[in-house]
Amino acid sequence: MAVALTFYYLYDTTEVTWEARATGVLVGAVLLCLVALQIVTTSLAALRGRFSWGWNDIFDGSSMDQRRLGLLLVSALFILAIEWVGTTLGLIVVLTSSLLITGVRSVRQIVLISVITAGTVYGLLIFLLGSRLPRGPIEHLIDRLLGT
């Protein structure tokens, strides 16, 4: 990631003045050297059998990783859909899905947690503090009921 960002930075700033790219070039050069050093150190350790190459530290395909991936996916979908479904409905759906993913099975607990949390966010942030969080069907319905 560090190497990719550095190369992208260097490529993107080829035509800007030296003052604008000086810091990035300097930092990027040091970063590339450090990454090279780390690769050499790790390779030597791997050759000596102290490490093995692979992704197991980050993702080993266990049920825990599947849960984690599920949570990330649900959060990403929530962000993508929030402009259409609105904050309150989006939160109810994302919380229900996330609680199911983490292993909560009690319908009462799931409904209570989702609705109370989404309601608190609506009341505190949207209604009281006037946050511009995306509005959807629930927010519009409440607006109509309150005549605002």
Partner: protein
């Protein structure tokens, strides 16, 4: 003004404003706990309300809110490894390990007492030294600010002590991320991946939320509870005795609370530095001068005390340039300036002659606020610490969804919610592969600040790098930077020497 009766009268009048200070404190506590919600944004939202109050009541309300926000930020930092404010990011380093060991209540007491006492010390110091302190900020020009930022960057080396290469990679990767966005001289867009939302650079709040909160939630799910398996019984058996024990530890480190809070005061006066820089610097120096630096990062009480007293020390420092010079050092100062000028007050040295009850009254209200904090917030530690008993299967979904919403709050862009998620993944990978997310955050935070001051200094010096060594204060600070880098190395060397001597003398280590 040297008359004690003036200050006693002012104190009593400030105490009489408890009815606005306490609601301000409650809102501040809530804002501090919620990552993404800053004191600045809340003060802007509540500005119309404060304009309808008398100038004393309006300022007391804002001060109550502002001071308690700094304290509130430490609560999620200690309980869930998720700083509520940037200033509490350093608190996670030792606060969260204490929670994992079943000492959440003690850690919260350390945080609350250090915050309130540190804030109290700096407020009283400000009242006593105001004429001198008001000129202090003027001595710090771009050259001196470059050295202050380099000071901040030396923290990366300190954090990287466990694995130097990985720590430095994380720090420089953070600096690289910090270099994204418009350059401070010409405003040319750089490496913003085509997103207009990144034109101003990477926003700090989504980065903080992602690197700390989202990545921690993704790791937290692996255990049934936030508290380590063996420490659950200890966490459940915590009583008032633990609160008293926390207070006792605070008293043992009283001197450290005082000097780290003064670091906060100095940093607060400087424009643009802020509570995050102050907290990390205080942590760094607390570790540097400690007899047991190896305990830092493992749940060591001074590691909680230092950043918390420093980030509260910043609060009075922020107000000094506003009142004494009429120059706001940051957003908070600017908002308070609006309230004061709205009521027809002329800020600057004349304020202290024409309206001393307002000028000194602001700091007296701060004193009252910190005293009320000690009284009302400290006992809450026992009840707040119980949040960690909630199983992670409930906590993780709640944290993930609320934190994603919180990322929206600073700039009100849905884009920032996605950005927080991206930083969450980066933070998770960093945690799993042994790269320090704190070093990464320091890079993201310090990168743009360093670049701004460096380019400004170089322009003043017409491109001559030697201009960076042209000021006396700057040169003294450069020497301190070098010393702060050399000292840990020298101490480690002498420790090894002592160890070798004792082994040679027949004592096994």
């Amino acid at each position: 003004m040297g008359d004690p009766s003036f200050f006693i009268d002012l104190f009593l009048r400030s105490l009489g404003l408890w009815y606005v200070i306490i609601p301000g404190m409650l809102i501040g506590l809530l804002v501090g706990i919620l990552p993404g919600f800053s004191a600045q944004n809340t003060l802007i939202i509540l500005l119309p309300l404060t304009l309808h109050m008398s100038v004393e009541a309006g300022m007391a309300f804002m001060i109550g809110l502002y001071c308690t926000t700094q304290l509130g930020g430490g609560i999620p930092a200690i309980l869930f490894n998720m700083p509520g404010e940037g200033g509490a990011a350093a608190t996670t380093l030792d606060g969260y390990p204490m929670t994992r060991k079943g000492q959440a209540q003690q850690a919260l007491v350390l945080c609350f007492f250090a915050s309130a006492f540190g804030g109290l010390v700096t407020t009283l110091a400000t009242i006593a030294l105001l004429p001198w302190l008001s000129k202090f900020g003027l001595y710090f020009k771009s050259v001196e600010m470059v050295v202050v930022m380099v000071f901040g960057l030396t923290l990366i080396a300190a954090i990287a002590a466990k694995n130097m290469i990985k720590g430095l990679i994380a720090g420089f990767f953070g600096l690289m991320i910090g270099a994204i966005g418009a350059d401070p001289v010409y405003g040319t867009g750089r490496a913003n991946f085509g997103f207009l939302e990144l034109y101003d650079g990477v926003p700090l709040i989504p980065a903080l939320i992602g690197l700390f909160a989202i990545s921690e939630a993704l790791v937290m799910i692996e255990d049934e509870s936030v508290v380590q398996q063996g420490a659950i019984a200890q966490a459940h058996s915590a009583s008032w005795h633990d609160t008293l024990e926390g207070l006792w530890i605070n008293l043992r480190y009283l001197w450290q609370t005082i000097w780290t809070s003064l670091i906060g005061l100095v940093i607060g006066i400087l424009p643009g530095a802020g509570s995050t820089v102050a907290a990390f610097l205080a942590y760094h120096y607390s570790k540097l001068f400690s007899r047991t630096p190896e305990l830092y990062g493992t749940g060591h009480p001074p590691g909680v005390i230092a950043p918390e007293s420093a980030n509260n020390g910043v609060t009075s420092g922020t107000l000094i340039p506003v009142l004494a010079l009429g120059i706001p050092g940051g957003t908070t100062g600017a908002i308070m300036m609006i309230v004061l000028t709205y009521h027809g007050l002329v800020l600057g040295p004349r304020l202290f002659i024409e309206k001393p009850e307002i000028a000194y009254g602001v700091f007296m209200q701060m004193t009252v606020c910190y005293l009320l904090m000690l009284l009302f917030v400290l006992p809450l530690a026992r009840y707040m610490s119980r949040v960690v008993w909630v199983p992670t299967k409930f906590l993780v979904p709640l944290i993930l969804s609320l934190i994603t919403v919180a990322a929206f709050s600073e700039r009100e862009y849905v884009f920032d919610m996605g950005l927080a998620l991206v930083f969450g993944v980066i933070g998770y990978i960093a945690r799993k592969t042994g790269y320090e997310v704190t070093a990464l955050l320091i890079g993201v935070l310090m990168g743009p600040l360093l670049e701004t001051y460096l380019l400004r200094a170089l322009r003043v010096g017409q491109g001559d790098p030697l201009h960076l060594f042209s000021s006396t204060i700057g040169n003294v600070l450069w020497v301190m930077v070098v010393l702060s880098l050399l000292l840990p190395w020298l101490r480690a060397r002498s420790k090894r020497g002592v160890l070798a001597q004792s082994q040679a003398a027949g004592y096994e280590s």
